[in-house]
Amino acid sequence: MKATLRGAGPAFTIGIVLILGNVLLALLAPWISPYDPVASDSAAALQGPSGAHWLGTDMYGRDILSRTLNGGRYALQVTFLATTIAVAAGALLGCLVAYLGGWFDDVVMRVVDAILSVPTILALLVVVSVLGSGMWVIVLAVVVVYTPAVIRVVRGAARSVKSLDYVTAAKARGERAGPIVVREILPNVSDVVLVEYAMRASWVVLLISTLSFLGFGANPPAPDWGLMVAENRTALTVVPWATLGPVAALASFVIGLHLTSDGLGKRLGVDRAMTGVK
């Protein structure tokens, strides 16, 4: 993999650095943040940046830097879980649907169409209002909402692979659908799947943060980017960093994902395995 990704360009490198930076900071947050992210200190409320509080404090006197560092943990965890499950399920189903075709294809794709026609945020709000806002509820809700889109994209890529001779050769040997999908088709759409993963992840992290912003995701006083923006937007003029901090963090993560997916697309778009360029 390392060899295939070499030469994906500076955009790709910057993207990876942004992603890894965000992930690393979120992982290390409990050890590197200067204050407890939920500890309030009414004496130090609504302060601007200072030596003690680099990004200032919010209306409860909580350290904004500590909250921003910790604020990604929830969103990134949900994003990782939801995207991984959605892309894995979507890739498998997409290949299977493309390979089998016929009525199976028709049925699955009409279900996909139906799910895709429901506005994402509405669907999530309904699920959360009914089942509560536990992390796994949100993960599964995001999986249900995003898997169809992955199915559609992967199916498109798999359909062109399906008609290639090595798939025909496998069919002529009498291989079953499972091995054909896993051995012959899936490895050859892995470039599409990888790009799709990066794109989906950026949408999912935004979606999760939107939910938190609307009050349906993380619960106060937990530190979370979306929630922080919601809490502090009224004090935007007083302590701008309380809003800008989480926004900048979120934006850098999303931009990182986009740059990465762009670089991956450029690097893998021409299938290197096909052309023989190493």
Binding site: L164, D165, Y166, T168, A169, A170, K171, A172, R173, G174, E175, R183, E184, P187, N188, S190, D271, R272, A273, M274, T275, G276
Partner: protein
């Protein structure tokens, strides 16, 4: 000025300035990382107006790269490292953009390999010709467009001009491409593998057309091809290229009669030929078709002895319930150890029949029975999913395009191991050894098992394809145009390998090809198909010496062989026979059967 396109009709001005095209010590390299890789080295040639120059060579010889410099075209990353290209006395790489546009299509026109892809799919044919004319500042009304189409001898030009490219056949598309190329009366015509995608009959017609047109318009023509027969029939002078260098460049007759360079001799040796035996008689079809019916059963299945491996009767295959079947009541029989070839142009149903035997397309009706050596037998009319493991093992397929028949993400060893595991041909512990044996058997080092398909050449990939088929320990190999994508020297090696393996393993082969010369080389018996119907079947010697069905005769007559300095005489553009349905069979010699037909005049 060179850009004046009116020159074409009148030879004088060009002759005065010397050759229409001069390539002088042209060297081209492309940049790969930090290194400069030479693509062409000190290539020189000249073409006078009215002359045709041929560039032959195998893939990677740089012939196309050199040809396209006449249009001042270089691939991205390539650059000229020496020499120059003069068209009508002008260095084409020194032209400003406006003059370059006038050069391309105006002074120099290109006919590429696949005209179907070079036409705009969403634009009517007439509109495209109109555009080709007006973009070079020529007056163009409807009559001019029709004249351009008429010039390339397309039928019903008024109707045709209103059609879209996909509504034309491959040969017609190629003609439209030529019509567009010559629309602006170019003084130089570049033909880059102009007929590689066409069947022999269409090829002969298209080449004849180009030759006549270039003579009429006095163009300087450059033809690039891997096909020595095509170049031999078209060019006045031929240059043989290899690794970017011209090895020898001489008048066509001399080059083919007495090649100087060892590589040229090797190439000529590797080209399969029909041989002298067939030419004279083949063009004389059986007289009185349609009258003299023979009640003999169709495919000569008289001897149903134990030496018959596969027998098919009345096989029809339809893709759609309505519409003509792709394969229409075909009988065939393959004896043990025999190579049966099916010959036909694209759309003849030959591949459909083969795929149906492999179980990939179900036959609509008819029986296909196989009688294996070890008593395994069964009905091949069943699709592969409903065949027993033994039956699937018995029939193995080798594909036309080795590039796409191997999974690019799996190693060579994995590709060969899969059928071993699936069919349980050898015990698991022996798999590794068996893979190495198979690789050695197809002439590859055992160490190639670790490689990915992309790290192999085309010929090596095809060898892996053969090894994969052998791994199943089959009795019948279906080889579907397996050498079409390969260079002649590689083709010769692969065919030799296949016939060697066939003998040592006692395999029977169904060999599908459009190349009559290859078939004459490898097959014991031949079947000729057109439009899903079997027209003729017999021993290779009988079929190639005639008498023949008129269709077979036209195929044989259209074959171009190296050393033939003339194109086949006016190949029949329109089919001059109609199918006699249901029709009977003629049997001019035992085992040689020809479907009866009616003359087109009797309609």
């Amino acid at each position: 000025m060179s850009i004046e396109t009116g020159l074409a009709g009148d030879m004088e001005p060009v002759a005065a300035t010397g050759d229409a095209v001069r390539v002088e010590k042209l060297s081209i390299s492309y940049r790969a990382g930090r290194a400069l890789v030479p693509v062409a080295t000190e290539v020189s040639f000249a073409i006078a107006a009215g002359q045709t120059f041929g560039l032959v060579g195998e893939s990677g010889s740089g012939k196309s790269t050199v040809a396209r410099t006449l249009l001042a075209k270089l691939r991205a990353g390539s650059s000229i490292t020496g020499g120059r290209v003069l068209v009508a006395g002008q260095d084409v790489f020194g032209l400003d953009p406006a003059r370059l546009r006038a050069l391309r299509g105006g002074t120099v026109a290109l006919v590429a390999q696949n005209a179907g892809q070079s036409l705009t799919p969403s634009m009517r044919v007439g509109t495209q010709i109109h555009e080709a004319l007006t973009s070079h500042g020529l007056r163009a009304d409807r009559a001019d467009v029709l004249r351009a189409l008429d010039q390339v001898r397309l039928p019903n030009v008024k109707d045709l001009a209103r059609r879209y490219p996909h509504e034309l056949s491959g040969g017609q598309q190629q003609r439209v491409g030529i019509a567009m190329a010559i629309a602006a009366r170019p003084s130089v015509l570049v033909l880059d593998e102009p007929t590689t995608a066409l069947d022999v009959v269409t090829q002969a017609a298209v080449l004849r057309l180009v030759k006549d047109l270039s003579r009429e318009l006095q163009t300087a023509t450059l033809i690039v091809s891997h096909d020595l027969g095509v170049v031999s029939g078209m060019a006045d002078q031929v240059a043989v290229m290899r690794h970017g260098r011209i090895l020898e460049s001489r008048p066509t007759a001399k080059l083919f009669a007495d090649p100087e360079h060892e590589y040229t001799r090797q190439l000529l040796r590797d080209v399969p030929t029909l041989g002298a035996r067939s030419r004279a008689e083949a063009v004389a079809p059986v007289a009185g078709g349609g009258t003299n019916q023979d009640p003999e059963p169709p495919s000569g299945t008289g001897n149903q002895g134990s030496d018959v491996l596969l027998s098919c009767e009345n096989v029809s295959i339809s893709y759609h319930a309505s519409g003509p079947p792709a394969v229409d009541s075909v009988d065939l029989e393959i004896r043990r150890g025999e190579t049966l070839a099916i010959v036909g142009e694209s759309g003849s149903g030959k591949s459909t029949l083969a795929w149906s035997l492999a179980g990939l397309t179900a036959a609509t009706s008819g029986t296909m029975r196989v009688h294996g050596d070890t008593g395994t037998g069964g009905d091949l009319a069943r699709p592969v999913a409903r065949r027993s493991r033994e039956l699937r093992q018995l029939v193995q397929l080798i594909f036309q395009n080795a590039d796409t028949s191997l999974n690019p993400r799996r190693s060579v060893a994995a590709a060969i191991r899969r059928p071993l595991r699936l069919f349980g041909t050898v015990a698991r512990a022996r798999e590794r050894g068996r893979v190495e044996e198979l690789l050695t058997e197809v002439g590859l080092p055992a160490s190639f098992g670790k490689r990915l398909p992309a790290q192999l050449s085309g010929g090596q990939r095809q060898r892996v394809g053969i090894a994969r088929a052998l791994a199943a320990a089959p009795e019948l190999i279906i080889a579907d145009e397996i050498t079409t994508a390969l260079d002649v020297s590689v083709q010769a090696d692969i065919l030799e390998l296949l016939s060697g393996l066939q003998k040592s393993h006692g395999l029977s082969t169904l060999f599908i090809s459009h190349d009559l010369a290859v078939v004459a080389d490898v097959a014991d018996r031949v079947m000729v198909m057109k439009n899903g119907r079997l027209l003729e079947v017999g021993d290779v010697a009988d079929v190639f010496s005639g008498p023949n069905h008129p269709y077979t005769a036209s195929l044989l007559a259209a074959v171009l062989e190296p050393g033939d300095l003339e194109l086949p005489q006016s190949p029949a553009e329109e089919q001059d026979w109609i199918d006699d349905n249901p029709g009977g069979w003629l049997e001019p010699s035992p085992g040689h059967l020809i479907r009866t037909w009616k003359g087109a005049g009797n309609r």
